[in-house]
């Protein structure tokens, strides 16, 4: 139990982290992002823009110079992340040591697994457009003991999920079909069935139709209705209802801010 003293930082131009679609305003936030999202920062995160942010906004000119020299020396680039954590005084020495170990473990992974993990993290961060790009690249991976039918099936499944969240229903449907053909899992069949309910133009093939029993259909229909009901009662919908109950001036201001947020979220999704 303790209290950490924050550095006095007057940031006028925050640092934009594209993969996370957020702006950073302090050395603490920078440290947090580096530590919590290693996969998002392991490749090319420490670049000239970041060095300028450290130099100009966080008044960490010495660190920027150190990093610049380190990168120029072509030594382990992951060490640059560790240097930032050490200088920003947000994590303890033990935590930084654990982080260094984590980076080493990630680097030891099969390249295809490492990249899939990165794409999965992008998906978790609602960065569907960026995740799609990585998944598509992963489908081109040369086959080996790791990159097998099952691996491809998982990639197709995740790719389909990205498309579905981008409302690209036709592409999602095709990707789920491919995933099902490789993995044969019932959950994928359920996703395909649900897509047909969301988009009337999508039709299941005869082979798949035959696989869906009346019993399964009933369970999935119930689940689908349940999810729809949950969506109707979600916080987002409630916020909208509250907004529409306000007077016109406050409603307009609230709507503008909400629209701005949606736009930002949408841009990061595609």
């Amino acid at each position: 139990m303790s209290v950490w003293l924050c550095r006095q930082e007057q940031v006028h131009h925050p640092f934009y982290v594209e993969n996370l679609n957020i702006h950073l305003y302090s050395s603490q936030e920078l440290s947090y992002v580096i530590c919590q999202y290693p996969l998002m920062v392991m490749d090319g995160f420490v670049n000239e823009n970041l060095l300028e942010f450290l130099r100009e906004e966080l008044d960490l000119g010495f660190l920027a110079l150190k990093l610049e020299r380190w990168l120029a020396s072509r030594e382990d680039p992951d060490e640059a992340l560790v240097m930032i954590l050490q200088e920003c005084d947000y994590y303890t020495a033990a935590e930084i040591a654990r982080y260094r170990q984590k980076l080493t473990e990630l680097r030891r992974k099969h390249p295809a697994e490492y990249r899939k993990m990165k794409a999965d993290e992008l998906f978790a961060m609602h960065q569907y457009g960026r995740a799609v790009k990585v998944y598509q690249e992963l489908l081109e991976s040369p086959k080996d003991s790791y990159v097998n039918e099952e691996y491809e099936g998982r990639i197709w499944n995740n790719l389909a999920s990205c498309y579905a969240r981008q409302f690209r229903m036709k592409e999602a449907f095709e990707a789920y079909e491919r995933a099902y053909n490789k993995l044969g899992k019932e959950e994928i069949l359920q996703s395909l069935y649900c897509l047909t309910k969301l988009d009337g133009s999508l039709m299941l093939g005869d082979r798949m139709k035959a696989l869906i029993t009346e019993e399964l259909k009933k369970v999935w229909d119930e689940r689908f209705a349940q999810v729809q009901e949950q969506a109707d009662q979600s916080d987002a919908v409630e916020q909208l209802e509250v907004l529409f109950k306000r007077d016109s001036i406050r409603r307009q201001a609230g709507a503008a801010s909400m629209l701005h947020r949606w736009k930002r979220e949408y841009r990061s999704m595609v």
Binding site: S2, W4, L5, C6, I22, H23, L24, S26, E29, Y32
Partner: protein
Amino acid sequence: MDGLIVGIDLCDEYTQINCAEEEKTWTIPSAICKNKSTDQWYVGEEAFAHTLTGDGIIVDKLLKLAAKGGTATLGEIRYEGKTLLKLFLEQALKLPKQEYHTGEIRQLVFTVRKVDTALMELLYGCAQELDIPREKVHIISHSESFIYYVLSQKKEIWNGTVGMFDLSEERLCYYEMRVQRGLKKTTVLAEYENLEEGFNLDILTTPSGARMADWILTSCGERMMQKTVYSSVFLTGKGFEKLDWAEDFMKLVCSKRRVYMEPSVFAKGAAYRAADMLHERTSYPFTMICDGRLKSTVSMNVLHRGQETSVLLASAGDNWYEQMSTMDVIPDGQNTVEFVVTPLDTKSKKTVSIPLEGFPKRLDRTMKVRIQVSFLDERTMDVKLKDQGFGEIFPSTGVQIRQEVML
């Protein structure tokens, strides 16, 4: 003169004005007179002259009037107390301005009997309306100006205890100043006591009244000054303008002690303070503990560069009304913020814990809390804690709590 460095002793019954390094002190009643037919204002003797001739209307006790937000009607126009106080100060400041042929105020220090937030805002407001920037205006207590006055004298006068009797129309007050030499810094403590035995100076006009006053003062002197060795004693206030009535009292105080008569201790002390503020390094490198200054040090234990360290928010001896600290901290594994309050007597050190009630529940170390500390008086700390969020990762909820802490 490049500009005036002014000390003003502002009381309800009188106002004294002194400029640094100048012997002359103006003493005028705290009253203002308005010409009945024109928009002219008078202070001091002029005010009484116009009132006596009947062409002016006078308002006195201006400080009290302004402090309680009162009004006065002069020539069918109602004036707020604050406006009258401003007009009075404007006229009063003309006295040194005309004497020293300069209109510029380089530094202005008001000294008042008791410093409180409302009075300070009032005086800062008046100064602002007189186009004197806030940074050039300071307000100190009589105790503090007493310290500044005494410390500006020769060292042998203040190397032990210094006593002072202030006898004015409204009160009889005893001040005492002590110097405590420490290893790091010397501390100067000043205390005062309003004596219940205060009397109206009108009684001095009759022989029996004067005898009674002498008897009262002597008994007060015996009570306050017993068992203490004084390096000097000061007598100030209108009551000591003449001393023929205080024969016994003078015998008492003058016994084996240096006794000084100084009618404008507070105004001169304020002027010394004003002059000192213009120097890069203070000529008074002491921790001063008196009315208007903090008697405790407030700090916080924080982690910095992996080490537990103490961050100072306010030090004993700081002027409480000028003291404001702001800092951002991140709690780790705790939902409270703790302050360490260390009085001069370090044995009674205490920890004050303020729970972050109503703050959102977040992951450890992802809530930046802005701590703002100021003081409502020398014994009350005003703490504001605000959720600053954690950038766009966890936006601020705007939750803020305020708590008063008794030191």
